[in-house]
Amino acid sequence: MAEPRWLEFSRQLEDSRLGTTTAEKICHVAATRVGGVAASISLFVDHAYLALAESGPLALLLDEAQFQLGDGPVFAAQGSAVPLIVEDISGTDARAEFPAFGPIAESKNVGSIAAFPIGLGTAQLGTLNVYRESAGPLSAEEYANGLVAASFALSEAIDYQAGVAKAVSSGELPGRFESSHLQIAAGMVAEALECSILESLVRIRARAFADSVPVLEIAKAIEERTLVLDPEQQKGKP
């Protein structure tokens, strides 16, 4: 059996010389593996968009253009767990859907855009965006690679929201928040504190950081009811 994609991604991340932070490295590797010229991680936090990381100036420009115009795939993909693929940004459909952003992307020689959701179930944090030069569909391999990149980005995005410095290796990144224990614990915290699933995940992450233990350990303790999160506990930034 071939090496699983998450492992390939993880190795490429370790070897990547491009980018300083892990989030930037994820963007570079994502751009390469999804056939793009640029990539970014954009988050929707407290009703505002922000670029968490980008592969370079082109991705930053395209992200910020979307945020300023309130138009573009970043918005269209928001809240959905299904990737949004704009196969031809200069095509009729895209022109109608993205009247303000479309021409800007085209002027920067972008032909197609893929936005992969960063989230868990109904709890969606943002998207991993890949900007490609040529128009046309993604190959199945590129599509799968985008989902893997988004799963790596999820870990970074929750860490960012919890306001914690990460101390995990790239091999641990994917799946760190994706286990059943995390979902169940997040549901329990959301019910107890009357907050969203997303806020619960962020609180669990912040608590794990404060206690210097893996998030999974906190999740299991909540699930077994040996730990109750304090509503007053610092819930992280920003």
Partner: protein, 244 residues
Amino acid sequence: MTIPALEEAEAVRLASTLIEITSSVTHGAETIDIFTDLAQRCVRLLPVEAAGILLRDASGRIQVIGASSPSAHLLDLFQVQNDEGPCLECSNTGEPVSDEDLSADGPWPGFAERARVNGFASTYALPLRSRELTVGALNLFATGRLSEGQLVIAQALADAATLTLMQVDPASDLHIVIRRIHVAVESRNTIEQAQGMIAQRFSLEVEEAYIRLRDVAHEAQLSLYEVARAVVTRDPHSPVSTLL
């Protein structure tokens, strides 16, 4: 192998089940329903006590998608978390795997012990195949042994369910299997989040919360995912809020 004659009633029941499965259309969230239904259909049609479903996601990780009972769910989860068990081997090789003794000297001592503690005597894992690709496995747990013919029936049900993953989507004919599995995993995440909320609200065990959600789904004639979604999003307009 010798093929025993099916009673007409049994044959009709089997044929109708196959028709029901293949006529299901998966758009998105329904993928998870088709596979949890598959687990339940196996329990109804075959002498098995429980069944579970594992699918491989885009990153290459095996995910527990659903099960007919909490014990099967936990046994499947055990295999994934401990990286051992017949269902994992089957998902990796694409070949059927069975353990009819669940003995401590077998290839998966940890898993076998857990399965015995849960009252099972044998386990079978059948590949979920979509053309050349093995997308996961169906895990059956029984107190006795299955005949070759019964395993053929189980594989037919599994193939029928997997076929629905390949149905062409009018919007796109590409990467359908990958997307549908991704959506199934996200649907499962939502169901687990809802389980946590219900467990907390009514001071239930997580498994009891699952049964509660399933009962409400039955009562409201909604899918388990739809109920879970209403719980997690705290949808005030959903009939779920009055049924819980």
